[in-house]
């Protein structure tokens, strides 16, 4: 398990909120699709925005793992080698 860096977590939360178009409070375990109304297109926007932010490449196979902030952080951290 990667150690969570608070500044990175905050930024990832911002990217998620912007790309899923969320305007309500949500926790790190809130489910993107079931609870925030995201669809697969929005999740690709999130993946793409994270790639751009950190100049990384996230394998598309990782997309199903990105179900909430927590797992998205882990996927990003693995791709970035944090």
């Amino acid at each position: 398990m990667t150690t969570v860096v608070p500044e990175r977590l905050t930024r990832i939360r911002e990217i998620i909120a912007e790309n899923i178009d969320v305007h309500i409070e949500f926790s790190d375990s809130t489910l993107f699709i079931d609870e925030l109304g995201a669809d697969s297109l929005k999740l690709i926007d999130v993946l793409s925005a994270l790639e751009m932010e950190y100049s990384i490449v996230i394998d598309m196979d990782e997309l199903p793992k990105m179900v909430n902030v927590e797992t998205t952080y882990q996927v990003t951290a693995a791709a970035a080698g944090w």
Binding site: N19, D21, H23, K42, I44, S48, A49, M52, S55
Partner: protein
Amino acid sequence: MSTAAVTPAASLPPETLVITGWSAVSPYGVTREAFAAGVRGGARTAVKADAALGTLPSPNVCTVPGFDIQGLLGPQGTAKMDRLTALTLVASDGLLLDAEGNRAVRTDEATGVVLGISMGSLENMTDLLRQSYTNALPFHVDAGRIPFGSLNHAAGACAIRHDLKGPNTTVAGGRVSGLLALNYARRLMSQGRATKYLVGSVEEFSAIHAWFEYTALAAGDPSPLLGEGCGLFLVEHAGAAESPALAAVLSIQTGVDIDDDPRAAVTACARRALNRAGVTPDEVWAAVPCAAPNAAGRAESEALAALLPADALSRVPPMELLGDTSAASASFQIQAVLGVAEADPTSSGRIALVSAVDRDGAVACAVLRLLGEHA
């Protein structure tokens, strides 16, 4: 008092295309009322450009005042929306909704949308291109903005917003696109493909658009004063119209200036449009050229001045007041006539001619009969 024959809307052939509503998001403001008052007052709209737009080829712009996308359309779905789409959606709200935001115009399964544009949202497209070239990898672009880059996005978003399921089309034709769109709606309605149409044209201002226009300047032409906005109409057949007709579209003619003689091309197109409408040049009560700030625009004004009565050309304040609104201009020209006509009881039954010419040689003219009733 005029002796011109007044044709009541009720006596029109039922298949005549009539304009029964319009909305304008323009450099005069986001409402139809602001546009009509601004046009009638002949007010200038140029302001000093916002510093946030960066370096521009001209210091002044004619942007829509106070156009805050999220303030006007709400936060949902607007974070990455391009200005072109937002201008269209605000105009469509103005056309179909009342002041409380409730639906005021009935639409059905065959209500179509056709929108005239020049190149879509240049800012969105060039931003994506820049990201692709300058970021670490070519696919490191803002994927959420890609859908907004498709040319038909604004027309599609308009249909989705208002649940319009008829034909949905975008016509890219520069300054003539508003008239091309109107002709497209006329044609599809005459073929029974649609019962009514939201038709109009839109242009957005952006720094990249200003620089594009600047690099396309011919020697001696002034640095462009660019405008923006969206003009939309509701058009129906006279026999099925559910709202009072403001004007009948008698004819629309298009052409191409293949001889590099825009004056002759505009003259020929205007004559054809008048012939098709069954009226003579001296019957024209108001004429509005697009007034493009280039050789084609100057030739257009000369052609109309030679063909039509002098007072017809001074009836409506010049379109230069709005800046060069490019694709939006033809719709604004028709709306300027309607705005002037609604305040003039002598306008009913009179003929209006609107022309447009693009620097690439496209020419179009529309002839309308004004039908607005005055108390």
